[in-house]
Symmetry: C2
Subunit: 324 residues, 2 copies
Amino acid sequence: MKNTWSKEHEGISVLDCTIRDGGLVNDHLFGDNFVRAVYNCCVAAGVDYMEIGYKNAPEFFSPEKFGPWRFCREEDIRRIVGDNKTDLKLSCMIDAGKSNIFRDLLPKKDSVLEVVRIAFYAHQTDEAMDMIADAAEKGYDVWANMMAVTDLSDRVIDDALEAMVGTKSSTVTIVDSYGSLVPEQTEYLTKKYLNAARATGKTVAIHAHNNQQLAFANSIESIKAGAAKVDVTIGGLGRAAGNCPMELFLGFLNNPKYKLRPVYQCLEEQFIPLAQQIEWGPFPEYIITGQFNQHPRAGIAARESQMRNKFSAFYDSLAGGSGK
Amino acid sequence: MKNTWSKEHEGISVLDCTIRDGGLVNDHLFGDNFVRAVYNCCVAAGVDYMEIGYKNAPEFFSPEKFGPWRFCREEDIRRIVGDNKTDLKLSCMIDAGKSNIFRDLLPKKDSVLEVVRIAFYAHQTDEAMDMIADAAEKGYDVWANMMAVTDLSDRVIDDALEAMVGTKSSTVTIVDSYGSLVPEQTEYLTKKYLNAARATGKTVAIHAHNNQQLAFANSIESIKAGAAKVDVTIGGLGRAAGNCPMELFLGFLNNPKYKLRPVYQCLEEQFIPLAQQIEWGPFPEYIITGQFNQHPRAGIAARESQMRNKFSAFYDSLAGGSGK
């Protein structure tokens, strides 16, 4: 029995965010050769979008400490991609509370970027709406990425969705920041997002984290429920447990427009050495934060301390007296 | 948003096969302390079954090379579990073509084992039916585990199911030996197995492999479709990419009868040291064999040779001229 699902999985777009989410592991201190290898891999694999970093403001992040992909200056991007004469669309993420989009985002005609993704927490919705308006006004395809959805009640999600679909964004993204979703919840949320998005012709995307080894499965579940865009990263590189691995998702899509071999080549040449320097993946600390529906920061801190691999004590620290 | 699915997931039984499937990584050369720790973990976690090894015949496997859990002699098991005065039911696996069940399996009244799982390939169905009859006759709860289901056509599966449901087995198991299933296929197969099993009051189980990081997701999908028993291993330990991790699956069930903390404690005390000696997990070589619906043996050989981490060449060796 071979997988023969390609007919069901046409029309899905794939966004690589290896540098953007992976940069959260190493303060975006990737060398140019690594970023260029990821870019070349994305072009060769045929993925639709590549998010090359954040456009954060230097008043929030010191350029002495953080690498160029925290800021995405036009000249840094062009040093890697030139004028990007390819079919790959380039994206950056701009998050509420840490950026100055009005000052720092160029008009699209002056940039090699085509997509801007506005990331925000629910309490920052008003600010995010202004940011979406600014990016759309400047000519970009804008996606609205409300983070940490598993922290929110249905009512808060519904209110935020109402705000998001009232903007000029093309896409609303389900963002499972904590890697807490299981497929049944993903299906439920996808239908909810889709109900809100459809009336205004918007599409739904999913950004999954791999705390419970479900990033790939939740991505599958979401497109089955109607999502049209999926975030992936090469080797699953991303904060803490990482994201949905590109090599898995492209294999599933089984669509001849995507090529797997360049992904394995990039893994071999770039990610085997990288894994000697930094770590990511569904380690037990991250399983535990995912199971308790918490931000992975406690897990990251544990793994960088004497608490590393002390799983039962770490479990106790989150379980408290719940005895879960 | 917390996970509140426990009501939906009562009535599921969990079988630990850490020693049995994990032993395929190290020729079943686990020390007694390790096996005892796994047993104690299973008891403390409240899982329903523990499969402690294979009962293979020494004429097929040299006792000089393979550890005791390849043979499951009664005295070896009792050295670990005594008379097993717990609620945990002990199981062994006996596979067609490599065993002498008629000679080597004691009557149940003389054994601490309660469950026997007969593993076989489709072409060994006749032999397996005789083995099931023998084990049932001797008083055991017998499960029928036809391996490598993704290699088989619907017609072959249907014929084998017809044979299996005609036996005195209590359970028919979906065995994804290659880790090739995606959730849609798992749902389809679960319904097929269930259709065959229901008429005779049998239940359906699933044994997943993690090549595509889908062992947990496929297990979830299978119980959603009606399976009642799920194989897990601590830390996912198992051949090649390993199996569905116990710590993930018990977290999902969210049923107070299961305890997570003992699993994390066992991971910390036993599996961190073990991972310094042997490897398992969804490495790219195993993703690739899973994607190509092949036994992982080529991936295992690659990782034990100069081909280790040469993902693109390994990909080419499986893709041939297919250009997939």
